[in-house]
Amino acid sequence: MKPRRLELGLLILVWVIGSVCYATVDLATLGELPVNYLALLIGSGAVLLVGHIVIRRLAPHADPVLYPVAAMLNMLGLVMIHRLDVAEQLRAEVNDEKAPSPDAVAQATWVLVALVLFTLVLFLVTDHRRLQRYTYTSLVAGVVLLLLPLVPILGTSINGARLWVRLGPLSFQPSELAKIALTIFFAGYLVRKREALATVRRKVLGLGIPRGRDFGPLLVAWLVALGVLAFERDLGTALMFFGVFVILLYVATQRRSWLIIGAGLFALAAVLGYLAFGHVQLRVKIWLDPWTYANDEGYQLVQALFGLASGGLFGTGLGEGYPQFIPFAKTDFIAAALGEELGLAGMLAIVMLFAILVERGLRTGLACRDPFGTLLAVGLSSVFALQVVVTIGGVTRLIPLTGLTTPFLSYGGSALVCNWMMIALLLRISDRNRRPAVIAQSADEAMTQMIRVGIDR
């Protein structure tokens, strides 16, 4: 099947599923279809279609699965945010209070912003290899973005983590944009240094130990991550940056020793973080035994676990559960909210969607003919993968909570926009991969050309 047709077909499926879910919420909670349902159907269809046209115009050979998968996740997120809006609205009605402005509307507005920036990335970055030129610019940008929330007037703390920058009415999370900048830097830097970093000094227990001076960059990344943890109290972001760096270091050098050393440094940081910071200790404590703290510090996790359990195999059904009991259900705990109403079946589907997204990203990296593109694609995919594992693992008590948002699902404009920009970059790289290397001049010539597309360099 032609990629274009496949993508369009998948998008229609996404649109139907998303629309049915949305209607289900209103039917279950309010007993009627949303008043503006027709407009919503047309609007969501139009946005999906515009994205599709943009991709097929600007990156015609791009992977046809990435966009529909991300769009499906985005729609499910919107549905759950809307569902939680309805719960707030009903509670306000019962209590005779003014209903809070619906977050789903805000999130939908951010979808439009994301669509614009998605288009801009595909339009401006005609060739991902050009990004390699900005390796060190990206480093500076990334570090500045990471430090921005610490600037006294600009930065704001929300819920204990100093992650936000406020500019007038707008607030955004620069660490989201830093994800992209630093991934570009990691890829560009490692492409240049990978020969040196792969050099083995001696072998210990079958592991090649790198030269001492090559430890520098890893240590810097480690210290930066520790800094983020210490000054911004953001365990998740710190973990993610360090994780992506170690992964790329391993992929670039093929040296397992880097993984072991990275894991060792991570363990050290974890111990240090545990000993130094109360909030890290608290999270471990809650993770080990949430039930004891069910009414105070562990309330959120316990509510999430109650919700997941009440959802059972097939969920309570959209609008039929009580996800509003989970504090921050729209952001950090959206996975628990979805798990309650869509059940284990729904959660497995969501995990599968993410797995497909990451797998397609890695495949893009594999198929890429230049090492920078490979590392960039693998880096971006790993950012998604780590976030998903850390957030879904966190709310389901597989690992301690870290406070990251789930890509595409969680409420939050900056994350949504940046995630779509990352998808745009992946699409750009995959378009490059799948584009025929030589354009056939004529039909006769085309017959004689032996081209195999997608083979490694």
Partner: protein, 481 residues
Amino acid sequence: MIRAIRRLGWVFGILSILLSINLTFQQFILAPKINAQPGNQRTVLAEYERERGPILVGTKPVARSVATPKQTFKFLRTYSDGVLYAPATGFYSSLYGSTGLERTENEILSGNDPRLFVDRIEQLVAGRVPEGGAVQTTLVASAQKAAASGLGDNIGSVTAIDPKTGAILALVQSPSFDPNGLSTHDAAAAQDYYEQLEADPDKPLLNRPLVQTIPPGSTFKLVTAAAALEAGYEPDSSVPGPALYPLPGSTKSLPNWFRGPCGPNDTTTLAEALAVSCNTAFAYLGNELGADALRTQSNKFGFESSFDVPMTAATSRFPDDPDDAQTAMSAIGQFDVAATSLQMAMVTASIANQGVTMYPYLVNQVLAPDLTVLSQTQPREFERAMTEQNAGKLMGMMVRVVSSGTGSNARISGVNVGGKTGTAETGAGRPNIAWFVAAAPAEDPQVAVAVAVENTGQPEVSGNQVAAPIARAVIEAVLQR
């Protein structure tokens, strides 16, 4: 790089499998345990998602669930005549759990009962939310109302039983509470009301007729009389009835309530002793028969047994090892004898039912949501307490109590009412308890009733003055039903 990326793909694949396994644990394997965790309000709320079945008195629902659209709780439990029926229905609260039939019949009311399985399948196929079944009580609305209006603002309880079946016809207490105040979804209001009820010294939340054990006073003379008849006494057997009965092994003497002898030459008959509630004659009989005989007799009426009606009633007690003085006091329902009003109604019912004690019960039928009968309670015999002849003799003696003795206020024209008054002392400075137990009509008993009014300060006459009119009203209500 290819190999490393492939490995990375494997690692991410394994991580997604780990996530899935963990989700399966949380949502499927551990879910029943997590759902049962204390403080899991979702489990409570789940009960409110379906229409809870009604509790019926006759065909009229006294407790039912009303849909409350758009609220977190999708149904509100509402009670009509809540205060009147609270001793039977109990309450159903998201904050304080449930009591009474709401608690014991929860399986059927909530729709979880296996007997509703067929309905559940049908509802599942039809896509309907399952509903609960209905519980029809044995209560008679008019008897319930007569008892409540008779008690008025007094503190006390009334229990009426169908002597032939053991079906509970009235279960009333004062003060009672309004279960609507606890089932409300306004948590603050429910909490205020609950705390107010808890703080009330008159304990409105206590199920007086079923779990409050108090000294039965002279109504216990029925048990002593039954034991005497079973031991060979006749109603006209003469027994000593002096003004004072010296308690054996003690310097104290037991007086009659009217401060005189019960008959000429300090002698009376068993029937006459019961009619005038002669303390000295029954104290004498108690010592003659012995504590063991009294205990055996009382146990045959249901003392020392626990009854699930289906709420578990308190066990009524006869003292374990009383000395002679204590036995004499026990024979007139004092010392450590303690009974519920349910128990005294059972004693009366047993005598009226030709000596057979029946298991008391409050649920007549259990109905499916479509009102087909799922189960009908069959009356069960607890024990034969006395021979049919002796029971008939004792019933005759009770009729005499009402027609010419201390129980004159229970008289109903055209109906032979048998009864017994009682006044129990509960300790120095504490108010006496006025008792009246009765059964009617004597020749074909339809109802046995026990009334206990706990806040009277008056002597023996109070049984007749305060409690007998209530018993009469209940009997009339049942007979006119």
